[in-house]
């Protein structure tokens, strides 16, 4: 008996965003159907994976994570180069030193570090602020200026601080991460506010906020899924690609941090699996760029993506 494969027909598709310049440019989005359902519609670009670089040696990383970057932890440019050696599609620089409770370095100093990292690698650069909205509003425009023309992805812009960040992106040809707190209505509203400033919708990437596996991943999953179905049904203000800040969530879980738990197995293996499971799970919801920390995670996630990008025979 022959089986008829049920195929959904969508009226619209996701926007396609291009990051970086030259041969290592990364294109994400443009999907005409739900993730990896090649038999239903075209999926022109595979999801991309970024490795994270800090502007100072991280304090709370477990040894086996720091060990992967031994010798470069104090040198962001060298660290970024190491990430590309590991095969990262993009590098995500996190400007931790700008945090007002810490070193509180100036926007100019942060921009200098960002420029040195951009100089060292040929893959597209993502630059993340310290997460304090006011400080990021001052730092990211300076970074945007220092990286002018490099078509980077800067974030995170929120409803409180998007104006100066978006203005910096418009003036210097970058894309922006629009961040919302696990709330699809606010995500859509922020996209509208940003496009009202005349940044092209193709230059917005959505960060819906995520939780790691076991820490609310299902909320992020269903929001990302609704964003995708909204986009496919013609909602232009939810059609932007989705970035997943996986590393920052996965590495603060108890499962990644606890060394002695015999029932849970080896910590290194467990922590990496946690990062991989969080990333791949959310790629299946509709994520386009996963930012992770361990090179082993990168390898596993890329292998998974390669498998999932093989066309199905129906």
């Amino acid at each position: 008996m022959s089986v008829t494969i049920a195929k959904e027909r969508w009226s619209s598709k996701c926007l396609e965003t291009v990051l970086g310049t030259g041969v290592k440019q990364v294109k994400v989005g443009g999907d005409c159907t739900l993730p990896f359902l090649h038999f239903e519609g075209e999926i022109p670009n595979p999801p991309a994976v970024a490795l994270e670089v800090f502007d100072a040696p991280p304090q709370e990383w477990p040894d086996f994570l720091s060990a992967a970057y031994e010798g470069v932890l104090g040198d962001p440019a060298a660290w970024a180069k190491k990430c590309t050696d590991y095969g990262a599609d993009l590098v995500a620089l996190r400007l931790t030193r700008t945090h007002p409770d810490g070193e509180n370095v100036s926007p100019e100093e942060a921009a200098r570090v960002a420029a040195s990292v951009a100089e060292a690698v040929d893959v597209p650069l993502i630059v993340l602020g310290c997460g304090v909205e006011e400080k990021d509003a001052a730092v990211l425009p300076e970074v945007a200026n220092a990286l002018s023309g490099k078509n980077c992805l800067l974030g995170c812009a929120t409803q409180e601080n998007y104006k100066s960040i978006v203005a910096g992106c418009i003036a210097n040809g970058h894309a922006v991460i629009a961040s919302s707190p696990l709330d699809i209505n606010l995500a859509k509203q922020l996209n509208i506010l940003i496009t009202e400033m005349n940044l092209e919708p193709e230059r917005i990437v959505m960060d819906p906020s995520i939780g790691a596996l076991g820490y609310g991943i299902e909320y992020a999953y269903s929001i990302i899924e609704r964003m995708r179905t909204g986009a496919l049904m013609g909602d232009k203000m939810l059609a932007m690609p989705v970035v997943l800040l996986v590393g920052q969530e996965a590495w603060k879980t108890k499962e990644a941090k606890t060394p002695d738990a015999p029932d849970w197995g080896d910590q290194k293996k467990r922590a990496i699996l946690w990062e991989v499971a969080t990333a791949t799970g959310l790629l299946h919801a509709g994520g386009h760029i996963a930012i992770v920390r361990h090179p082993e995670s990168l390898k596993h996630i890329k292998a998974h993506i390669n498998k999932m990008m093989q066309p199905q025979q129906y």
Partner: protein, 264 residues
């Protein structure tokens, strides 16, 4: 909710004079305004004063002028098949034919025309005997249109059944029958045909016309109405359609929903 702007119609004095003088400006003004206000189609009707033999040329002129001012497709509104075809020939994009009735001879003209030009089409649930008195008779005629559309290769998603709205001041008993028809048309086929009403008919010769139109639009939407030929230049009407769309979960909410509804 697919709003079809009703304003480019020779029944209105300014458009009638524009047609008479071949003055494109009033037509373009209505095209732009309705486009900005969230219309998805622009209805084009030569009006009753144009002689039958002049209707094809007038329709052709109106479609060209309208589409010079707006990217939207047109809803070609005429009882003259030659006028409809003249409009289809110069139309850019996917047009809508307004309309066929359930009379076999009309369906034999318009449904093949829709299939040939890849146009959507409105099917009025009435025939030469007039407007049916209740929902059941409307549905019987709607079913004939559905069956013929299927036979002529018009997809159900491109067939808009119009249950026929009558003025509330003279035909009050038709209101509930129309709403019931809107509900049940969806059961006639899978995938379902769509539904459309000529909204402003409900308020002919009544005071408070905009209020009656707006109220009926929202009631129709609650029953599953897909489209309406309506006064899109009435901002409150468009706001109510946008709000009903949100409440019916047809679009994901955001604070600027009144604006996004108009931008689609």
């Amino acid at each position: 909710m697919i709003l079809i702007g009703e304003r480019i119609n020779g029944m209105f004095k300014d458009v009638r004079e524009a047609i008479l003088n071949r003055d494109p400006e009033p037509v373009k003004r209505h095209a732009v305004l309705q486009t900005q206000n969230g219309a998805r189609y622009l209805d084009i009707n030569t009006g009753p004063t144009v002689a039958a033999e002049d209707q094809p040329a007038t329709m052709e002129w109106l479609v060209k002028v309208t589409q010079e001012a707006s990217p939207l497709p047109c809803c070609l509104d005429s009882t003259n098949p030659d006028a409809i075809e003249a409009g289809l020939k110069v139309h850019r994009g996917k047009a809508m034919i307004n309309s066929t009735t359930a009379d076999q001879w009309k369906m034999d003209i318009y449904l093949p025309m829709a299939a040939r030009y890849g146009a959507a089409i409105i099917g009025l649930a009435m025939n030469e005997k007039g407007v049916p008195k209740d929902a059941n008779d409307r549905l019987a005629l709607a079913m004939e249109i559905v069956a013929n559309a299927d036979a002529y290769g018009v997809p159900m998603e491109e067939l808009y059944i119009d249950p026929l709205v009558l003025p509330v001041n003279v035909a009050q008993d038709h209101g509930p029958e129309v709403l019931e028809t809107i509900r049940q048309v969806k059961l006639l086929a899978s995938p379902s045909p769509r539904t459309v009403v000529g909204l402003s008919n409900i308020s002919q010769r009544c005071p408070n016309r905009p209020l009656i139109n707006r109220t009926f639009l929202v009631m129709g939407m609650a029953c599953g109405l897909d489209a309406a030929i309506a006064d899109v230049e009435d901002n409150d009407l468009v706001d109510m359609a946008a709000t009903a769309n949100i409440i019916l979960n047809k679009e994901i909410y955001c604070d600027s929903y009144l604006k996004t509804f108009r931008q689609r």
